[in-house]
């Protein structure tokens, strides 16, 4: 039996990169779509789980006030007293009105917070002329 002469043909195992690049690009698109950079500035809170209003997502509040379960008020993660909080709210609302921006106030309270703290804040804001405020909720079953 004669062996074939000439150069021996060796099989080269190649690695096909195309499907891997496809998958990687899909993963990138997924993370691009799902990442929400705007949530990074909000204090993580255990908000009451309710559906809220239908058009809630379209509003941009002038200021966000967080209320912890122990009654501490927070604005941009800084702890403030009630008077300081009301002063900051009034300042933010005045500035928003001057610049003709939405002048709403979003109050994000932990679900276990006693309502007296919300009442104190609401009374303080009302005395300063701020009545346009909303309570933050967490939509049940949603995540993004």
């Amino acid at each position: 039996m004669k062996r074939a002469r000439g150069r021996a043909r060796t099989a080269v195992a190649g690695f096909n990169m195309t499907p891997m690049i496809d998958v990687v690009l899909q993963l990138i698109i997924f993370f691009l779509v799902t990442s929400q950079f705007s949530q990074l500035v909000r204090t993580p809170m255990d908000l009451p789980e309710q559906e809220g209003e239908d058009d809630a997502g379209k509003r941009l509040p002038a200021i966000v006030v967080d209320v912890r379960a122990d009654g501490v008020f927070l604005i941009e993660r800084s702890e403030l007293t009630l008077d300081e909080t009301v002063a900051k709210v009034v300042s933010a609302v005045s500035e928003a009105r001057r610049e003709e921006r939405p002048a709403g106030v979003l109050v994000r309270a932990d679900r276990a917070t006693p309502s007296r703290h919300i009442s104190e804040l609401a009374t303080g804001m009302a005395a300063a002329g701020v009545r346009n405020w909303t309570l933050g909720t967490e939509r049940p079953g949603g995540g993004g």
Binding site: F31, A56, S115, A122, G142
Partner: protein, 139 residues
């Protein structure tokens, strides 16, 4: 001049080197893996502060409804609407559906009632079509 096999292929059809693109793609992927944060979707409920009125000469069906949010004997929140007491949001919504909406509704929580119950009362008002609602500072 002898061309290598690779050069011949490049001259014929054009080749796109993928190595750099793969490097960039992996860097982007690692960036988004580290920075992505899955958070719950948030919403809002309007709670404009109002003043509880007591109109003695007005017809009963023009007076705003008042929902008291209290803590019951067993430590669970309860909702009081007039003489009726209910324990959950669905029951409160059912009660509100039968009431006239024109005069609006006040939600008045007790001091020790948790915010979760207050928000549930506001949501019940929203679900029952009471868009004219106000949060009244309680005790």
């Amino acid at each position: 001049m002898r061309w290598s096999k690779r050069e011949i292929t490049a001259r014929r059809g054009g080749q796109l080197p993928m190595t750099s693109m793969i490097d960039v793609v992996f860097l982007l992927l690692v960036f988004f893996l580290l920075t992505a944060r899955f958070v719950a979707t948030e919403s809002e409920l309007t709670a404009a502060l109002g003043v509880e009125r007591s109109g003695g000469g007005r017809a009963a069906d023009l007076r705003p409804q008042v929902i008291r949010v209290q803590v019951g004997d067993e430590g669970q929140p309860v909702f009081r609407l007039g003489e009726r007491i209910v324990h959950d949001r669905a029951s409160l919504t059912s009660l509100l559906m039968d009431l006239p909406r024109e005069a609006g509704v006040f939600v008045r929580p007790d001091g020790d009632a948790p915010v979760e119950a207050t928000v549930a009362a506001l949501q019940a008002c929203e679900d029952a079509g009471f868009y004219n609602r106000s949060y009244v500072a309680g005790d």
